[in-house]
Subunit: 159 residues, 2 copies
Amino acid sequence: MLRLTKKADYGLMALRYLAEQATLTSSNPARSAKDIAEAYHIPPQLLAKILQTLARAGLLVSHAGSTGGYALSRAAREITAFEVIRAIDGPLFITSCITIHGPCDLVGTCTIREPLRKVNESIKDLLNGILISDLVDMTEVDRQGAGTAVAGGLVSIAL
Amino acid sequence: MLRLTKKADYGLMALRYLAEQATLTSSNPARSAKDIAEAYHIPPQLLAKILQTLARAGLLVSHAGSTGGYALSRAAREITAFEVIRAIDGPLFITSCITIHGPCDLVGTCTIREPLRKVNESIKDLLNGILISDLVDMTEVDRQGAGTAVAGGLVSIAL
DNA sequence: CTCATACCAGACTCATTTAGTCGGTTATCA
DNA sequence: TGATAACCGACTAAATGAGTCTGGTATGAG
């Protein structure tokens, strides 16, 4: 089915939210897991775990205490969607031939591994071309009902 | 995790096999599910079901009886990897926001749906650029140890 | 000082999906 | 007419995903 997990979805939404907040507020950009969860109606405990994962991966900085919360560790235009997805969902494998335990038992007989590996790389490049800042920008565009502006760059994929 | 199911893997391998056989034999290109399964050490009954699905989708033609089996319904260069994957794994959704039951319950609050939809389209285009004949060609290239030749086209993706 | 707030960590449950099996039916050809 | 092979749906088991629970630890406000 080739779909992202809900966790990755939630993670992207949270990062986008934090990026947006960072531009709106000058002083303390930190937001608690609870706040973000309420903003999007995400199960709070689940989001908490996701944010912890992202903090462990170095994409977020966390701070405990009453004024604490999470904030982006870098600028929004220096964090890619791929990093987020990879931190949450783990390494990206389009084929089940290539797993974390090395090649599958069809080694030698599997004839489509190499082509699919290239597709894998292409998708990775594609996701690496999407920045958290792009997510914010796109929402703004949608809000204005324009749809003409094109955010982000151009990704060329050679097979 | 963004991975293909094993069924889709098996389906692609089978189609590639049938494409290869079609070029090698002049007369009857049909191969039984059992033969293909044995060639790749795939559970025969499972592959049988996959081939039936592909036949129902119009990608294969089937013929019962002692000399029967499956064959490609079109030329190998007129069948895309996307068609195969879609026939087996169903519609392709990179985000769990967009499901078969329409938009998720986060409608209105989900801020990343549109960007991810575009990624989805890009992946679709990417897979549509890969033909079954490419899979055969690539294997040949690998066999020759070349690696210089590049099969397939170039897919440009605008975000 | 202390307490409410918030992060941290892991075990755990429940639901869904995936992988694979089983049994029986129908079609075709030697 | 019997061997071969496609067809079909129901079924089971394993893996993954989504979400919860419980018990901690840090930190700043009052």
